[in-house]
């Protein structure tokens, strides 16, 4: 099998997997970065969201070979120095219930604020609707995002 080199959270990692393996399973099974979750496998729920060169991406529908050569950021590497402001806001608002979807929610929110530092409520709702939370934490997700925005943004 070909050897694929990935740049994950700033580090080079080599993996022996077939090139059409979804990035999700390489992160989870090969690199043991299990913060990125499997929810639907077809890009419908957002639990597997990561950033590829800063762009929000469903890792469950991204071939690992297409991620090679790009900067892959997962929940474990989102905060460059400690927790990202959104992660801090998630703690301040006590957002998670079961918590399973929250990595994806935070990765999505980070992508939103990187592109739109001052989103309106409908910007937030539109963008975040790519992600499903079955526990129904939407109210607190909204609050956590607004908290970061009103504190001056994610940077």
């Amino acid at each position: 099998m070909p050897n694929i080199t990935l740049r994950v959270n700033g580090s080079e990692k080599s993996v022996d997997v077939s090139p059409d393996t979804p990035l999700l399973w390489v992160l989870r099974d090969s690199l043991q970065l299990t913060g990125t979750k499997f929810g639907c496998g077809v890009g419908l729920c957002g639990a597997c969201s990561v950033h590829l060169n800063g762009t929000l991406t469903h890792s469950c529908t991204t071939r690992v070979s297409d991620a090679a050569g790009k900067n892959i950021t997962t929940i474990e590497g989102l905060g460059a120095n400690g927790l990202h402001p959104l992660q801090q806001a998630w703690i301040a608002e006590d957002v998670p219930q079961c918590g399973y979807c929250q990595s994806g929610q935070i990765m999505a929110a980070a992508a939103l604020l990187a592109k739109t530092p001052h989103p309106s409520d409908s910007d937030i709702a539109d963008f975040m609707s790519a992600n499903i939370c079955r526990c129904g934490t939407y109210d607190r997700i909204r609050r956590a995002i607004r908290r970061v925005v009103s504190a001056g943004g994610a940077k």
Partner: protein
């Protein structure tokens, strides 16, 4: 097994170096006759360094038990909350029934947890009094320290732990009735930090050395079996190391990664014996409810004589579909069979059931099976089943190696245990003044517990006492049940039968208000106006508590204030799991479909242990209830589930999520259920708002078809 006295049994072990350790076992009031007559609730140790460890013997699935249960114990312990750490118990013989369900975790552990904390506190005070040679009533505990105020001396719990461990355990330590310092506080959840940085380990994240990965192909038709299979291509698939039959109805593919196991599964060719249900479909299933033999109806609640009532008759029939829990984390489990023992790491609500089911299948005794409980990525009742754990154990034995079984979303949707379909026939007799003099509600539905082999309780499903309440003291009432059979596997889904009962009952009460030309809030308040206690199985429902919930929800929602043009309100209330709940929803109609803008939700669940977590439960119940009301529907065709993923079984997303305002009635009553009770009022409140908007009555869920 010899029945043991209901008196609390408590044993103390002063293990060397471990300080004070108290394991406590209390009888379950709900299952006093059951063989496992003890219902233990926690396990406490305080080490000489002052670290307080509280073992949580229930499962954390998002409802906050890893925070709320320790708070109850820590309160009576007079602990410094910052010193508390949590440990998750797996399946144990030290703890009674560890099932996490029925909105029972706080309500059934409230007394034993308080008592356990109080016993430890009393022993620590005694230890300090002995150390100082002063009367113990001159010593006081607080903030993990015992203080003798006359002399200004103080000793920490850590310093007292070893000595306290040698003292006798008081049988009846005093409990607080006021002055709570931890209980009632809006404390942050202890599990949040790990859930925002990716470090929290769920079942699907767990791994052991040299672990394999397995995917199973299961018969798509309920009750079908594997007839034959060809594994030649699967075995050629990358990374695949084993293919084999598991039980009668599945084939497992084992590989070196999840993806390779899934690819190997795709390469299987299986001939299925589809069995007796291969032509089953939803139309036929609903037909069978309509054609059920109603002479077999079993009355489970009655007052007066409904036949004696004279006046205008109103009737309504309601219907609900199968629904699936669809927790975000699909089914999975890690198991390691090691010949004479098996260890399992399961995201389960029923660790003991997993242990007791797996053991005989592997030829082991229950004590040879160790079940560890992981975090759950949602439960909602789906993980009250043990199927994923059994699969992992069987595959591990087949390959003689540790293995993780992973289900896909489609596996979850199509091999679940579903909220039962139901048909509801309601009738009422209204007097000249519009008030009902008689009310009947007949539920026709298959029995979840019956299908699983549990005996009916007084002729009805054993869940009814918690879920099928009727709190309006109308003079003549009959509630009865026609039990039907189902080839579709049934399961307990958040709020269980209370969803069906609440939808039918609260929609119909709204119909009666409309027929009487009265305001739906005023109509309900009038029916509840007199303080009445209603005995219902073992429970007592109180009209004043439901009335207060309705009044508070109306006040917070501004029920009497006019709405902007195009906005409409609906109201509903229901009692289940000993808790009272009510919703007011505000909707508009967009292209003939309801859009829910605002939900005001109120609950009376007794004393609130942690308002922060309770608010989460109410928010979550509203979103869960909204999906149930609008879209959640599992349909059957050719003996198979039609839906497969989140495109044809769509949960609520943020763009549909209303603003939710959660309130609770301040109470000093003991805590009651919280996770499920806020679910049932939502669907009828929406349907009642749709009626307000359109004069059209929704009589079947889902609303959107």
């Amino acid at each position: 097994m010899t029945p043991i006295s209901r008196r609390a049994f408590l044993k103390t072990t002063a293990a060397s170096g471990a300080g004070l350790m108290i394991a406590f076992h209390l009888p379950s009031s709900a299952h006093a006759e059951a063989t496992d007559a003890f219902s233990p609730n926690a396990y406490l140790s305080i080490d000489p360094a002052g670290k307080i460890r509280i073992v949580v013997a229930r499962t954390e699935m998002g409802q906050g038990v890893r925070t709320s249960l320790p708070m109850i114990l820590a309160e009576e312990l007079e602990a410094d909350w910052k010193q508390v750490t949590i440990e998750q118990a797996g399946a144990s013989t030290l703890f009674g029934d560890q099932t996490t369900g029925g909105s029972a975790s706080v309500r059934t552990t409230w007394d034993p947890m308080r008592k356990a904390g109080a016993q430890a506190r009393e022993m620590l005070i005694s230890a300090a009094a002995q150390e100082w040679k002063v009367p113990r009533d001159t010593c006081k505990a607080g903030n993990s320290t015992v203080v003798h105020s006359a002399s200004g001396r103080k000793l920490s719990y850590g310093a007292l732990a070893t000595k306290a461990g040698k003292l006798p355990v008081p049988d009846n330590p005093p409990l607080k009735s006021e002055g709570y310092k931890i209980v009632g506080q809006r404390l942050p959840r202890l599990d949040t930090p790990a859930k925002v940085d990716g470090s929290a380990i769920y079942g699907i994240d767990f791994r052991v050395a040299d672990m394999k990965y397995a995917a199973l192909a299961r018969c798509p038709v309920f009750g079908g079996k594997v007839s034959s299979f060809d594994d030649a291509r699967a075995k050629q698939s990358p990374g695949v190391s084993f293919v084999g039959k598991v039980g009668d109805s599945a084939v497992a593919v084992v590989a070196d990664s999840t993806w390779n196991a899934l690819q190997g599964r795709k390469a299987l060719t299986i001939a299925w014996d589809e069995g007796p249900n291969k032509d089953l479909n939803s139309t036929e299933i609903f037909e069978s409810l309509r054609n059920a033999d109603e002479t077999k109806a079993v009355k489970f609640f009655s007052a007066g004589d409904v036949a004696s009532a004279k006046g205008r008759k109103v009737e309504g029939t309601y219907q609900l579909p199968f629904m699936a829990h669809a927790p975000m984390e699909p089914g999975n489990c890690v198991a390691h069979f090691r010949g004479s023992e098996c260890e399992v790491w399961a995201p389960t609500q029923v660790p003991q059931d997993c242990r007791d089911t797996i053991a005989p299948l592997l030829g082991l005794k229950p004590e040879q099976v160790k079940v560890n409980v992981t975090l759950l990525g949602g439960g909602f009742g789906r993980r009250l089943e043990h199927d994923y754990a059994v699969e992992a154990a069987l595959v591990s034995k087949l390959i003689n190696a540790p293995v993780k079984v992973v289900w896909t979303r489609e596996d979850d949707m199509r091999n679940s245990t579903y909220r039962p379909v139901s048909l509801h026939k309601l009738s009422a007799t209204l007097g000249d003044d519009g008030w009902p003099t008689a009310f009947t509600h007949r539920i026709i539905a298959p029995s979840i517990n019956g299908q699983k082999g549990s005996q009916p309780v007084n002729g009805v499903d054993a869940d009814f006492p918690d879920e099928a309440s009727f709190i309006y003291p109308i003079p003549n009432v009959t509630l009865d049940y026609v039990m039907t059979q189902s080839a579709v596997p049934l399961g307990w889904m958040r709020s269980v039968y209370a969803l069906q009962m609440g939808f039918a009952s609260e929609s119909f009460i709204d119909e009666l208000a409309a027929a009487a030309g009265k305001d739906p809030l005023e109509y309900r308040l009038h029916l509840l106006a007199k303080d009445t206690e209603i005995k219902y199985f073992d429970a007592t429902w109180r009209t004043d508590r439901l009335r207060n919930v309705l009044k508070l929800v109306a006040e917070k929602a501004g029920w009497s204030k006019p709405l902007p043009a195009g906005r409409y309100r609906g109201i509903a209330c229901f009692g289940c799991f000993s808790t009272y709940a009510a919703d007011v929803v505000e909707i508009s109609m967009e292209n003939g479909q309801p859009q829910v803008h605002r939900v005001v939700a109120v609950m009376d669940c007794g004393r609130v242990v942690n308002p922060n977590i309770l608010e989460q439960q109410i928010h979550g119940a509203v979103i869960f209830g909204l999906a149930n009301a609008l879209r959640a529907q599992i349909t059957i065709d050719k003996g198979r589930v039609v839906q497969g993923n989140f495109d044809d079984y769509q949960p609520i997303r943020m763009n549909e999520a209303p603003e939710v305002e959660a309130y609770f009635v301040p109470s000093t009553e003991p805590p009651t259920g919280a996770g499920e009770p806020p679910v049932p009022p939502l669907a009828p409140a929406i349907c009642n708002a749709i009626y307000a908007a359109t004069k059209k009555r929704i009589r079947a869920l889902p609303i959107l078809t």
